[in-house]
């Protein structure tokens, strides 16, 4: 009896000590500056090379660093690199790393890490592959200096190394970067401004990062992903809240400090709250698009695709996606508006007066005989579904036999891999959106390409656009680059690989005790101060 009483007392004491310990660690946590951030999506995959998911890219920016970065003026700036040289024949780049670069495990960043990381990246990323085509060899000169030898001059070398969006050429330790690029890495060790606390990661709920105290920021002010990445909080908690009404309530109640992307319907509500600022801090936003299946009737006929250019009203799509025309703009360009290569060259059909008669005439000329058109949609993705509803209505007005088949995003992205006719589970149209940095040039806009079955879903086959794209790669100055991009765009508006629907910006919301948010196409969490 006495023994069992002692056991119980002992157990109680252990529990009490554990509770006291927990309280103490809670008190220590309360002393820290903790930034609570509601991200746009749940982080599931830690490998920013194995996936193009934007949430994983954003995680990448937390824990990794890059050799170069693009600034707000679209200029390439050194980031991990202290200095670089280009040989007179423009065939050899020599890079020297900055002093003090260390991975989160304390190991210094070496040339071998950079080479392994870039080689892995180049196996997955389209621009990386282009760089790889032109690469003769990467060689380490010493631990801090390495060399890139090209087969022929490649003007976009530094742009590729400073690519701001998926896939970003992040630098990882060599031991991790040696992983098969088609297999997800598990170890989030990088050399970036934050360290991920993997033990506290609860997928579907929270991701925890702490300040990397060993990180040596650059001296320059931050500008997009370039400049000094100065961390001004001790800990960042990404809290994933799937229900947007609850996310709004959490922000209002002070349970979160910053909500990355607001759904349009909650913007007016949060604007009324004096403790919350609602702002557009993404200068480029994103663009919606209507993607056709180019290998199945009826959109294998160019006239059917061109018909949609005459009836898509970007204002309607903007309203549908962003709820208010103030949250975006019309953009009659395949290269996102507000960037050097954007123009309205060849966009007359999309920009002019909406002309249903012209569209009907084109449909008749295409020989369309009432074949079923299937639009696949995802109701769990409002941006996709709102566009799908609008396109369905447009096609009905044009007398097309259209059927909207809505499911979830997981089903859509599987089904769009099918090359079968619609009767056998295929599809005719799907909608999606791409962020501005993925649409700045022919190099990164993969949806404009005409590489056929090797290309993006829809499998547009347009050798002419591929040829013009190659010509663009060969340009070496800004004026020629612009001219060559216009030629690509002119051809794209003829061939219509997809229809750009609108340029929209989903605003961000944060509590007024935050300051220092960086205006950029990605929500960067350095430089943010919490009072």
């Amino acid at each position: 009896m006495i023994r069992s009483f002692r056991s119980v007392t002992g157990a109680c004491a252990v529990v009490a000590l554990a509770m006291a310990g927990a309280t103490l660690s809670g008190a220590a946590l309360a002393q820290q500056k903790v930034l609570k951030f509601i991200p746009q999506a749940d982080l599931r995959i830690l490998d920013p090379i194995a996936t193009t998911a934007y949430i994983t890219r954003n995680h990448g920016y937390m824990v990794y660093d890059t050799l170069f970065a693009t600034d707000a003026k679209f200029q390439v700036k050194p980031q991990m690199v202290e200095k670089y040289e280009l040989s007179k024949d423009k065939l050899t780049y020599t890079f020297t790393l900055r002093d003090g670069l260390k991975f989160h495990d304390g190991v210094p960043v070496k040339s071998a890490d950079c080479i392994a990381s870039l080689e892995r990246w180049a196996k997955r990323d389209a621009l990386g592959q282009k760089l790889a085509e032109n690469t003769e060899a990467w060689t380490a000169v010493n631990d801090k200096t390495f060399r890139l030898k090209l087969k022929k001059p490649f003007a976009l070398t530094l742009d590729a190394l400073a690519k701001p969006s998926s896939n970003v050429p992040f630098i990882m330790p060599e031991r991790i970067a040696k992983t098969d690029p088609f297999k997800n890495i598990e170890d989030p060790t990088g050399s970036g401004p934050f360290k991920m606390v993997k033990e506290e990661w609860v997928p579907g709920s929270k991701v925890i990062y702490v300040k990397n105290t060993d990180y040596v920021p650059r001296k320059e002010p931050p500008s997009w992903a370039s400049g000094g990445k100065v961390v001004k909080v001790d800990r960042v908690e990404w809290i994933y809240i799937p229900d947007s009404a609850i996310a709004a309530a959490a922000l209002s109640a002070g349970e979160a400090d910053w909500w990355e992307q607001l759904p349009p319907d909650l913007i007016p509500l949060l604007r009324k709250n004096k403790d919350i600022k609602v702002e557009n801090i993404d200068p480029l936003g994103s663009m919606g698009l209507i993607r056709f299946n180019h290998i199945q009737p009826p959109f294998n006929n160019v006239k059917m695709r061109q018909a949609l250019l005459y009836v898509v009203n970007q204002q309607d799509y903007l309203l549908g996606i962003a709820g208010d025309v103030k949250n975006g703009r019309t953009c009659y360009s395949y290269f996102v508006c507000g960037t050097p290569l954007s123009s309205e060259t060849g966009a007359e059909a999309l920009k002019g007066k909406r002309d249903f008669d012209k569209a009907k005439k084109l449909i008749a000329e295409s020989g369309y005989k009432g074949e079923k058109v299937v639009i696949i949609s995802a109701t769990d993705q409002p941006i996709v579904h709102s566009q799908s509803l609008l396109t369905t209505e447009l096609l009905r007005k044009l007398g097309v036999n259209v059927e909207l088949q809505a499911g979830d995003w997981g089903t859509l992205i599987t089904r769009r891999t099918s090359k079968e006719p619609v009767e056998k589970g295929g599809w005719s149209i799907f909608h999606t959106w791409l962020v501005g940095p993925d649409l700045t040039s022919p190099a990164v806009n993969f949806a404009i390409r005409g590489s056929g079955e090797k290309g993006w879903f829809g499998w547009a086959n347009d050798p002419k656009v591929e040829e013009l794209r190659e010509a663009w790669f060969a340009t070496t100055d800004a004026a020629n680059s612009k001219k060559a991009a216009e030629a690509v765009q002119r051809q794209a508006f003829e061939f219509v690989p997809y229809v750009p629907t609108a340029q929209f910006i989903l605003p961000t919301a944060y509590r007024t005790n935050l300051s220092g948010l960086i205006v950029a196409p990605v929500a960067f969490l350095w430089n943010v101060e919490k009072k």
């Binding site: 927990a22 193009t52 998911a53 098969d180 997928p203 109640a253």
Partner: protein, 298 residues
């Protein structure tokens, strides 16, 4: 369990969706997806995949999440506490409220009290959990600021913090359950109250409370326990909605997220867990009959 395992695996195999396509992301090509599928072994024939899974299962290994690369046992382990806390809290509160309500309604059958309780019961049954959750959050969190909007705190962070985060989710989830148990308790009690032995007890001059609790309720307990047991399944499905609305990292949300992404090992693991729990609950309910009715023997 073996049958459940086979059906779960087969259904998932036949369900449209490809985790490789989800992993590859929006910007991918057929070749990217094919390579990822091969790396994950998703291109293997059904029998090989099923055999591999069963072999690992027999060794206590539920597999690894396709997306996070974390063991399914760890992912489930992370989520057990919030779901168990939410379910138990709801169960305890619901039984504590619903049984007395049902007894009072039966004792005063036909009165205004009875009608009020039954009206509440119908309302509780009719209002969807998420609507009730929003009303509660609007009132007690954003309105009065008494309770947190979302999230979960472990009991190790302090009992009060733990409870504060459970009050609203339990209230939202428990209302349906209270309504169900209250109605069943009332109906069963009305049957029992019409029995001869109750009339005998009343004729002996026992106090009404003693008759209700000591004689009637004890004899009505078996059907009530059956409904409580069945209701746990209702609680588990309700917990999925509640956990999503209140952003509680429980097993319900883990399941929904896994289904949306086609993370097969997690879905298989969770469904097996749910089936095992349900079998155990039914066993516990069956055993409890012996306690309430000594005539029952197995």
């Amino acid at each position: 369990m073996a049958v459940v395992a086979f059906f779960v695996f087969s259904l998932l195999y036949l369900t449209p969706g490809d985790p490789a396509a989800v992993i590859a992301g929006d910007i991918a090509t057929d070749e990217d997806i094919r390579r990822i599928r091969a790396t994950l072994g998703l291109d293997e024939p059904f029998l090989i995949r099923f055999g591999t899974w069963v072999w690992a299962l027999l060794h206590g290994d539920l597999g690894t999440s396709i997306f996070t690369n974390l063991p399914v046992t760890r992912l489930i382990g992370q989520r057990v506490e919030p779901t168990v806390a939410l379910t138990l809290c709801t169960l305890v509160v619901a039984v504590a409220i619903a049984v007395p309500l049902g007894v009072i309604a039966a004792a005063r059958a036909g009165s205004w009290t009875d009608r009020a309780i039954m009206a509440f019961s119908v309302l509780g049954f009719s209002v969807p959990v998420f609507v009730l959750a929003y009303i509660l959050i609007l009132t007690f969190s954003t309105g009065l600021g008494w309770l947190p909007v979302q999230g979960y705190r472990s009991i190790t962070d302090g009992v009060w913090e733990w409870l504060r985060h459970l009050i609203l989710p339990s209230a939202a989830l428990g209302t349906v359950y209270i309504a169900l148990i209250a109605r069943i308790t009332r109906a069963t009690m009305l049957d029992v109250l019409a029995q001869d032995y109750v009339r005998t007890a009343q004729a002996k001059g026992l106090a009404p409370a003693q008759v209700l609790v000591g004689h009637a309720l004890k004899n009505a307990a078996v059907p009530i326990m059956t409904v409580v047991g069945i209701g746990i399944a209702l609680l588990i499905s309700g917990a999925i909605v509640t956990e999503t609305v209140f952003a509680i990292p429980g097993i319900g949300r883990l399941t929904v997220d896994a289904i949306l992404r086609r993370d097969y090992p997690i879905i298989q693991g969770v469904i097996l867990l749910f089936s095992a729990v349900y079998v155990l609950i039914n066993l516990a309910v069956d055993l409890s009959y012996m306690f309430f009715d000594p005539r029952i023997r197995y």
